[in-house]
Symmetry: C2
Subunit: 187 residues, 2 copies
């Protein structure tokens, strides 16, 4: 049985971020992360499937939170508004980790491997939103298009927010939604 | 120097598709593909970086074609229309390979590894469209949103087309664009 270590999860994340920052993501091994955190490799693998997952821990909880907010949105809202609202509410839970978000964004940008993992997580989230919309009786094609549009809207707003553009996350999301509507409006 | 083999490229693709179909993508090795095509592994690697690339050969030419069509679209069109038009014109070049498209789609759906490669290729195409729109003096955020929206529109239409939904590809793309506009319209 694995020995319980107080906040092993948080210690591993902090150790990993410090090492990635010092030496670059690609150069750091799982053994080194565990060592820096004062833990074993085995403990690392109790928490994370691989080195990449340190940066994507919480993505399942995040997906579940978005899906829950889609399910709980009031009746009568348009699908795009449901999806954007769900991403806004779950995003606010993320927004308390501003420093982590910035460091994480820079790391992902530094590594093709991490960009790929990020794409995969986003695709899974998009599908989950589309499915959650379908369960609200939204027609399948509309559900997919609304989910993809909402992810595009959120992606731009989140990146504005991480980069410190003025405004809070919900405000930036609303601006980005208005931008999308203008961008796709017929001439 | 590599020995020239007539249509080695096409023979390798055909051999790969036949083997993938017979035994499943994951079970087939590069050596077996080369062998079935009557060629060597070395010849395989002259044409494809890895086994996955057999299914994504031509994606660079496709990206270049889309970018060219964005650059050449007439002045005065809205960014979303430029992006959708470019994908339509390049898509028509694809549309002659209907059988290959169907077999390829089924294979991609059968393998996480292939789905991931597909996501990565699509992300590269989305970025290239956004960049090509920026070169037409489209503002950066609008360029990204129009590129993502156009990719969503094309994705749905292409999948309808592969599945044999009635209508030609350009008609399905126009329907899908109308669906997107409805999906994001304010209440």
């Amino acid at each position: 049985m694995a020995r319980w270590e107080p906040d092993a999860d948080g210690r591993l994340k902090q150790a990993a971020m410090a090492l990635f920052h010092e030496r670059g993501y690609a150069e750091v091994t799982v053994a080194e992360i565990a060592d820096r955190a004062g833990l074993t490799k085995r403990t690392f693998f109790n928490y994370f499937a691989d080195k990449r997952e340190v940066l994507f821990a919480g993505s399942e909880a995040y997906l579940a939170s978005v899906v829950k907010h889609v399910a709980e949105a009031e009746a009568g809202l348009e699908p795009i508004d449901v999806a954007v609202l769900a991403l806004t509410l779950s995003g606010l839970e993320l927004a308390q980790y501003g420093e982590w978000a910035r460091a994480r964004r820079d790391l992902i940008a530094s590594s093709t491997e991490l960009q790929e993992r990020d794409l995969i997580k986003n695709a899974a989230l998009t599908s989950a939103i589309a499915e959650a919309l379908s369960e609200r009786q939204v027609e399948a094609r509309t559900a997919v298009l609304a989910a993809q549009a909402a992810m595009a809207v959120f992606g731009i707003a989140y990146s504005d927010w991480v980069e410190g553009r003025s405004g809070d996350l919900p405000g930036l999301i609303q601006q980005s939604l208005a931008d999308l509507r203008r961008a796709v409006a017929p001439n």
